[in-house]
């Protein structure tokens, strides 16, 4: 349902002369209703890849196909309206807009207040305490991350991208979060791509993709990749080094 063909992304440094290649010739296919986890060391290019899929960054080279359609040149909102959603690694704050405002927009104005509240409860936030809060500096990083996830669930996209959903979330909530993702996986309503370092999230993947240094180091089914991540600590140092939650 999503195909990345020879995707490269380079930026020029501040001086404007030196090219830096952040992604190099990425080829990747995400199947319908599959649950894919992308992992790899910090700075490897995972977030950049997610932004390219969503249209926030445009690739220097290559093409992106979504449900057979070439979307390489489509803008962010056009991709959203075709059925893509993206939960940011670093959620954005807004002065004045409330949790309800954003959930309402995320659901394409299709869901009632009760349904919206349900999504908050699912990510472990008591809806009545949060629904009318402003998405401003009064919310903690962990609260924002959970609201970000609730928004994506409310959107019901064909392809949902989550960028390190576990970051900044406490241990107790983390266990509930895993349940949320297990539920999303079991519903098989659309494809899910999660960028994560967490073994428990890798554990529920259909497929695992390892990105390092702007390239796909390896990819395959969970059963092929996960044991190697755990044992080959030389190659996959980043993974061991992160420890476990």
């Amino acid at each position: 349902m999503l195909e990345l063909k020879h995707i490269s992304f380079s930026v020029t440094d501040e001086a404007g002369n030196q090219e830096k290649e952040i992604l190099k010739d990425i080829n990747l296919t995400i199947n319908k209703d599959s649950f894919v986890v992308i992992t790899g060391p910090n700075g490897g290019g995972k977030s950049t890849l997610a932004k390219i899929i969503m249209g926030i960054e445009k690739p220097s080279q290559g093409a992106i196909l979504f449900q057979g359609q070439d979307i390489t040149h489509l803008d962010i909102h056009e991709r959203a309206n075709l059925g893509m959603g993206f939960a940011f690694q670093q959620p954005v704050r807004f002065k004045g807009l409330t949790v309800k405002d954003l959930l309402h927009l995320a659901s394409h104005k299709q869901k009632n207040d009760q349904e919206l509240a349900q999504y908050l409860n699912e990510v472990g936030l008591n809806a009545s305490n949060y629904i009318n809060r402003e998405i401003n500096a009064s919310l903690s990083g962990g609260e924002l991350k959970r609201i970000e996830i609730a928004m994506l669930m409310a959107g019901g996209a064909e392809l949902s991208l989550f960028d390190e959903p576990e970051a900044g979330i406490d241990l107790w909530s983390f266990h509930n979060l895993i349940k949320v993702f297990e539920k999303i996986r079991d519903m098989k309503r659309g494809s899910v791509v999660i960028i994560s370092h967490q073994e428990r999230i890798l554990n529920i993947a259909d497929e695992i993709v390892v990105i390092s240094n702007g390239e796909i180091l390896t990819k395959g089914t969970r059963d092929e990749i996960l044991p190697r991540l755990l044992s080959e600590s030389d190659t996959y140092q980043f993974y061991k080094a992160r420890g476990q939650q």
């Binding site: 803008d75 962010i76 909102h77 954005v92 807004f94 002065k95 004045g96 954003l102 927009l105 394409h108």
Partner: protein, 317 residues
């Protein structure tokens, strides 16, 4: 009988008047409670209640509103409409709020100018708020009309707060007015509290400036001035606030502006402590809409323009 005549009077007026009244004061038909409606310099309808008396000033230039001590849960509406192009209106309204009263006052000015002449309304509102009294004062400004004539509004508000009293003032002006100079002055006695919330949006070549001057004279009195604004097009906005802490008191002012296109926004805060226990804070932020906010809303399916509108709507909500 008298009441029936009044209803006819208001509804018998033009649709312009009806619309402006609705926009600036939420009035449709005959309002409840005490009210005074002023059109092109004349009081065209008025009602007092048992607790709230509205009188014309002897010189005819405005009204005096007397609220009996202890009056609770009542409201006063005093909308002003200018719809004759070239009309310039100056009015002085004085409010005497009795001790322990708790009331809402809704003022507003709507200008409709289809002509080529300048239409202007300068309203001076003075509040004497009694001990332990509570007032919520709302003021809306609105301009419309297809003519080239300018629409000018210069409101002056003076607030005298007696011991333990509270006044909350909320002003809203969303485009439509060419030039505004708003002046708000307050002096506070012991434990009095003043809260001012301003929302402003300018566009085109509009010019809006706001001046606050607050004297915190009493022990443990406090003032909180909050301004949120959006400046578009070639418009200009000025925010000038002066807070003097003359006793053990707390003062806070905050100016938060979104700037777009070729607009200009200036914020000049001045805080002066004349007492060692005066605690005064000023915060000012001016900036364009954050790109990541637009990006986030676009990932929810909004176009860039829709995203900007949504962000502004939330900001000024």
């Amino acid at each position: 009988m008298k009441h029936a005549e009044k209803t006819e009077h208001i509804s018998g007026n033009s649709s312009v008047l009806q619309k402006l009244l609705k926009v600036v004061s939420g009035i449709t038909g005959t309002p409840k409670g005490a009210y005074n409606i002023r059109q092109d310099g004349k009081s065209i309808d008025r009602q007092s209640t048992d607790n709230i008396e509205i009188r014309s000033k002897e010189n005819g230039q405005g009204i005096e509103v007397y609220v009996k001590p202890g009056t609770k849960g009542e409201s006063v509406h005093i909308p002003v409409v200018v719809d004759e192009s070239g009309f310039s209106d100056v009015v002085y309204n004085d409010f005497f709020i009795g001790d322990n009263a708790d009331i809402d006052i809704v003022a507003g000015c709507g200008i409709h100018n289809d002509g080529i002449h300048l239409s202007q309304h300068d309203g001076v509102h003075t509040f004497h708020v009694g001990k332990h009294a509570k007032v919520r004062y709302t003021e809306k400004h609105y301009g419309e009309g297809s003519g080239s004539g300018k629409k000018v509004l210069n409101p002056i508000t003076v607030v005298h707060l007696d011991e333990d009293s509270y006044l909350e003032m909320e002003t809203v002006q969303i485009e439509g007015v060419d030039t505004t100079k708003r002046v708000t002055k307050g002096d506070l006695k012991d434990r009095a509290q003043l809260v001012i919330k301003e929302k402003l949006m300018t566009s085109g070549n509009q010019n809006a400036s706001t001046e606050f001057e607050v004297n915190l004279n009493g022990v443990d009195c406090s003032a909180n001035v909050m301004s949120r604004s959006v400046a578009k097009g070639n418009s200009f906005q000025g925010f000038f606030s002066k807070i003097n802490g003359n006793n053990a008191c707390a003062g806070h002012s905050e100016c938060d502006a979104i700037i777009m296109d070729d607009a200009c926004v200036t914020a000049v805060p001045e805080i002066t402590a004349n007492h060692v226990a005066a605690s005064l804070i000023h915060e000012a932020a001016i900036g364009k809409i954050a790109g990541e906010q637009i990006t986030k809303l676009m990932t929810l399916g909004l176009s860039q323009e829709e995203a900007e509108q949504e962000i502004i709507r939330g900001f000024l909500k």
